[in-house]
């Protein structure tokens, strides 16, 4: 078994160092997980085969929940963090307490890019937590609730994973904490000398402090302190005093003489730097759960002097066990279900499809489940354009944000920087795409996806030196090496058709004459893009959409002639609706629009729309319900009821 395990590790290392295939890793990981399972589940500790069967079922459900329900690829897309094999970055992580674990967690996190591998990572880590916890609990002798005590953290880890911004480091810290505590217990059992115990504790403390930070160290110390106090020997009291002193002194010494950290961080650091998501109180609950378990076990009975390995395990399924098994599996499913952030997942899924340019899938999702979220509206509009349906179908989808669902740059939040860069690349507004790409990179410099956008944008502009710098940087991300090599090959030889098509297409619509980018009024930019390049269809459709969403029919009419440059078979639906409305308004002012040919269907619908309004004596509020039912997807309904210009709704950034 030992041989198998070590040879597997060697295989993994060799595979990583070479240009490996992900299915190899998945295969190896699956084998590894089985071997680990059999290897660690020492029959002395877990005699009951029921335990093994239950454990297998529990973690299979856990794995399926992560893989199919939570989806690791969405966690990855939400956090957009990669692990760079860059010496400078690695050294940065080693410069402060907790950095090492953060670095390892980033390494593991990158596997989320492949869903099976990502789900395996989370499941394996959780399995190890439960396993070590089981062994620790067993030191205190068995009781009926041991199974529940050991598996409860896994249930809540499942729940925490439903938060897409949940950092993998928090799971790793818990695992390291338990691992170190288990090592401490083992040392305590093996060595009776107080000095050896104290020295061991000091070494373990220093290690865990450096690896995982102040809070992990304090909880570890608390666990060790409680454990030692359960012993009735005098030398244990000496060790307990040493632990207490160490818990107080080590962070201070680290603060004073070793690391450049604040005193608060020296004692309590848990959260990685530049991590802005709110940390769920459940996480702290899980961390402090272990000391509580120890106290409970202590209350139940003293730690047996003999090894827990000899603790009797039930051979038969007892009702108490059965109840716990069922409870834990149900608890896992229910916790994941109730903590699940459906809206967040939906938003990330749409963003994920947009990033991967899976426009059909995106539209399928948003059609099935319309959302008023701004980012979703933004991506829906992008998808509609790319499928040639923006001017036909944009009002089939919620447009409550008006122009701010078309462009995000007027009110920007960090998660919207990369999508904005992508949109501007699409539009041929590449100089500004680089601007937003760089802002996104500032916010997340560990993101290979952002680096890739910067490579593309710089290649389009012919800025090969900066592109090369980013390519070299991208090459340091394990799963992006091949992409980096392709970009490298392209800028050297230009012989990669996929990249070449995109580059040539975007270069053909680049603006020629400089202008000042107008973040507040993106329509100005669209006009300039169009003026320089009459064939920039996306700029045209976005300009028209902007005017429609902004209730600006005058400007819409003024620029509609650009449509002649594009081969529209017929007047697009939303344009026709806008023209009908405009003609109607003009007619009211005594101006007849000649040469305006509108379809009978649209004219008929508009007459009907007006008829319904008239039925309610022009009272829009009263007519709303009926109009929404029949004409909720028309421009007329948008301009009367939804447009933020009409409703006077404003975005307030806090």
């Amino acid at each position: 078994m030992h041989y198998n395990l070590s040879s597997l590790f060697t295989k993994i290392i060799i595979k990583i160092s070479n240009d490996f295939q992900i299915h190899d890793i998945v295969k190896i990981s699956s084998k590894l997980s089985i071997i680990l399972y059999l290897y660690f589940f020492d029959p002395d500790i877990m005699k009951s085969r029921y335990s093994i069967i239950f454990s297998a079922i529990f973690f299979a459900i856990f794995f399926i929940c992560v893989l199919l329900f939570i989806k690791p690829e969405l966690i990855y897309h939400s956090q957009l963090s990669g692990f760079s094999f860059d010496k400078y970055s690695l050294v940065e992580y080693l410069a402060y307490p907790g950095g090492t674990t953060e670095c390892i967690s980033l390494f593991l996190f990158q596997f989320n890019i492949y869903p099976v591998a990502g789900a395996l990572v989370y499941t394996l880590l959780t399995f190890l937590i439960v396993f070590i916890l089981t062994m620790i609990i067993n030191y205190y002798g068995s009781s009926k609730l041991d199974l529940l005590l050991a598996y409860l953290p896994a249930v809540f880890i499942g729940g925490l994973l439903t938060n897409y911004s949940f950092h993998l480091v928090f799971i790793l810290i818990l695992l390291i904490m338990l691992l170190f505590f288990y090592a401490f217990i083992s040392i305590m059992k093996r060595f009776k000398s107080a000095l050896v115990r104290i020295i061991s504790f000091v070494i373990l403390s220093a290690l865990i402090y450096y690896m995982s930070g102040g809070l992990a160290f304090l909880i570890f110390s608390l666990l060790a302190f409680i454990y030692v106090l359960t012993k009735s020997e005098i030398r244990s009291i000496i060790v307990a005093i040493a632990i207490f002193v160490m818990a107080l002194a080590l962070p201070y010494l680290a603060y004073r003489y070793v690391f450049m950290i604040s005193l608060g961080d020296a004692y309590l650091k848990l959260i990685p730097p530049y991590y802005y998501a709110k940390v769920d109180f459940i996480l702290y609950g899980i961390y402090f759960y272990m000391p509580i378990v120890l106290l409970v076990k202590k209350a139940v009975g003293r730690v047996p002097e003999s090894s827990a390995k000899t603790a009797p395990q039930p051979e038969k399924m007892t009702p108490a066990m059965l109840v716990q098994y069922i409870f834990l599996i149900l608890a896992l499913i229910l916790v994941v279900h109730f903590m699940f952030q459906k809206d967040e997942k939906y938003k990330i899924l749409v963003d994920y499809y947009a990033y991967n340019k899976q426009w059909d899938k995106l539209l399928e999702v948003v059609t099935h489940e319309p959302s008023k979220d701004r980012l979703i509206t933004f991506h829906t509009n992008r998808a509609l354009y790319h499928k040639g349906r923006l001017c036909e179908s944009m009002f089939d989808y919620p447009q409550v944000w008006g122009v701010d669902g078309l462009f995000l740059s007027r009110y920007m939040v960090p998660g919207e920087l990369l999508p904005t860069a992508e949109l501007y690349i699409d539009l041929g507004h590449v100089n500004d795409a680089i601007h937003w790409g760089n802002e996104a990179f500032v916010q997340n410099e560990d993101s290979p996806q952002i680096i890739e956008q910067l490579i593309i944008a710089n290649i389009i502009l012919g800025n090969y030196k900066p592109a090369q710098l980013y390519i070299n940087s991208l090459r340091k991300y394990l799963f992006f090496r091949r992409k980096a090599c392709n970009y490298d090959r392209y800028i050297r030889n230009g012989d990669l058709p996929d990249i070449d098509i995109l580059v040539k297409e975007k270069r053909s619509i680049l603006p020629v004459n400089d202008f000042a980018v107008n973040r507040e009024q993106p329509d100005h930019d669209m006009i300039r893009l169009l003026e320089d390049n009459h064939r920039n269809k996306m700029a045209f459709e976005y300009l028209m959409a902007y005017y429609l969403l902004n209730n600006d029919l005058g400007s819409f009419i003024k620029h509609i002639n650009y449509a002649d440059n594009f081969n529209y078979v017929s007047v697009p639906k939303s344009y026709e609706e806008a023209l009908t409305l405009y003609a109607f308004e003009m007619q009211k002012r005594g101006k007849v629009m000649e040469n305006l040919r509108l379809s009978k269907k649209t004219l008929g619908n508009f007459a009907d729309y007006l008829g319904i309004l008239k039925k309610y004596e022009g009272d829009r509020a009263k007519a709303k319900r009926e109009l929404e039912k029949k004409y909720g997807n028309t421009y007329w309904f948008y301009i009367h009821y939804i447009s933020p210009v009409t409703t006077k709704k404003k975005i307030i950034i806090k």
């Binding site: 010496k87 400078y88 004073r256 530049y274 100089n431 990179f441 500032v442 400089d514």
Partner: protein
């Protein structure tokens, strides 16, 4: 079986050590080519200080093996053979070699073993070793290429005699805030300052034994202090106060950073007072102050006010100076040193050599924020003769922020020449005749480091020795509350507000 393998490794290791220390006596059978080898960074014909860290380099020629032979007059030959094109020198040998060859040169021959098992020798090149040391440390801020937002940043110091780099202050300890404009008095690490923006904002000042944070924004100044310059007395710091704005280009250049308005102030550390004069707080835009080494004059740049209808690319800064007596807080008269109209370009970042003879400045098409302006070049003004001339090693990329060494024989500047995106520090020798020499890129242990390093080396400042502020104290001060500077009561407020006080704009 295991033991045999163990001894084999030791033998192999010893053989490797022996071979790499002494190297073969030379490659006898080779083909000679007349071209110089391609290698990065380009250290050919540069002048280096005798105390600089090893100039490791990466040979860009394809080959199976590389042999580098270094000869010099006063040191035994150093040979390195390597399967990797990355050539690294041992620090001790390198240091001895440079020290022995002060005022001389070292000659480097590069041989490359091709696929055909034949050695090629490239044209020999030389590195000159100056007599004068450079200051031991370089302080800089490492920052991403961003325009509006920031996240991770720190002010670092790098030991130029080795490869050691450590942060002076990292923003992960200070609420992820922005920190900038670090500055030293006469390259002295014990008289330093930097600004903090956002959370914990203020200016951290270390003046000998005292370390404190001050809020330089007063009701009578448009902003807190921005671009600093220490007076040689170590008790006064001149700042500009600026209302900085930014906009973005759609084609070509990425952005424009400009001042809507700006003035000059002088901060007196002892009295914690900010003073100014109507002469440097006019409706024009005064900025980028720098003291003359004797402390009698404050040089600065000045452009017409933004109320004047000038398009952004027509805004050009002149170089002016004004007398200032720190003892009596008396301002002299404004002198014109160099007019932008005479040069047709805009002058910025004046920095005077410690002997007071030369002034290096940036010359660009317009404005002063040259880090985003590829037209920015370095120029040298002889203050004795009034002659000015371009630094002969300007590039077609941004060549900008510069700083003198304490002995005036070296200066460091920021340039984007290596990648067109991020600034990297280049060090240039400046001889006693006012002649500057080919610059070299700050050496790194791994010369390939720069290939993928996407951070800017911002505001490189040479420092005589390490900044050794008590880090706990520094953190405490940086994250604590600032003291508020008071405004000099003797200054004619009307003059100030009549000038460019922001509220009046």
């Amino acid at each position: 079986m295991k033991k045999v393998a163990y001894y084999n490794y030791i033998a192999l290791f010893l053989a490797f050590i022996a071979f790499s220390c002494t190297g073969p006596s030379g490659i006898k059978d080779y083909e000679e080519v007349t071209d110089y080898p391609e290698f990065f960074p380009d250290y050919r014909d540069v002048v280096v200080p005798p105390n600089i860290a090893p100039l490791n380099f990466d040979i860009k020629e394809e080959g199976k093996k590389y042999f580098v032979s270094i000869s010099s007059e006063n040191f035994e030959p150093v040979n390195i053979i390597s399967k990797s094109p990355v050539i690294r020198f041992k620090e001790k040998i390198w240091r001895k070699m440079l020290t022995s060859n002060k005022g001389g040169q070292i000659k480097i021959n590069i041989y490359v073993l091709g696929e055909d098992r034949k050695w090629t020798r490239y044209k020999q090149f030389a590195i000159e070793v100056a007599n004068e040391d450079i200051d031991d440390y370089l302080a800089y801020r490492l920052i991403n290429v961003g325009y509006v937002l920031w996240e991770k940043m720190a002010i670092y110091q790098r030991d130029l005699t080795s490869f050691k780099e450590r942060p002076i202050l990292h923003n992960r300890n200070t609420g992820d805030n922005c920190m900038n404009c670090h500055s030293f008095c006469n390259n002295d690490p014990e008289r330093a300052m930097f600004h903090m923006r956002g959370k914990y904002s203020g200016t951290v000042v270390e003046a000998g034994d005292s370390l404190f944070k001050v809020n330089l924004k007063t009701p009578y100044t448009m902003s807190a202090g921005v671009y600093p310059s220490w007076h040689p007395d170590g008790q006064h710091i001149a700042f500009s106060v600026n209302m900085v704005r930014q906009w973005f280009h759609a084609v070509g250049k990425r952005n424009e950073v400009y001042d809507r308005s700006s003035d000059l102030i002088v901060y007196d550390i002892k009295t914690n007072t900010v003073t100014t004069s109507p002469k440097v707080s006019t409706k024009r835009r005064e900025t980028l102050p720098t003291w003359s080494p004797d402390g009698r004059f404050l040089y600065y740049c000045s452009a017409p006010g933004s109320n004047d209808t000038l398009s952004y690319d027509k805004v050009k800064y002149d170089l002016l100076r004004i007398g200032y007596d720190t003892k009596n807080n008396e301002w002299g008269e404004v002198d014109t040193v160099l007019l932008s109209s005479a040069l047709g370009r805009s002058i910025s970042f004046p920095k005077i050599s410690p002997d007071g003879r030369y002034l290096i400045f940036c010359l660009a098409s317009h404005g002063y924020f040259n880090i985003y302006n590829a037209t920015s070049d370095l120029y040298i003004l002889d203050l004795q003769t009034g002659e000015y001339y371009p630094y002969p090693y300007n590039s077609d990329c941004e060549d900008s922020y510069h700083s003198w060494s304490s002995n005036g024989r070296w200066f460091v500047f920021s340039s984007k020449r290596s990648n067109g995106l991020c600034t990297k520090p280049y060090i240039s020798y400046f001889d006693s005749d006012g002649k500057s020499h080919k610059p070299f890129l700050l050496p790194q242990k791994d010369p390939k480091f720069y290939y993928s390093f996407v951070l800017n080396y911002n505001v490189p400042e040479l420092v005589k020795s390490a900044v050794s502020i008590d880090r706990n104290k520094l953190l405490e001060v940086a994250t604590g509350d600032p003291i508020n500077a008071s405004f000099d009561k003797n200054v004619n407020i009307d003059a100030l507000s009549g000038a460019t006080k922001y509220n009046e704009m």
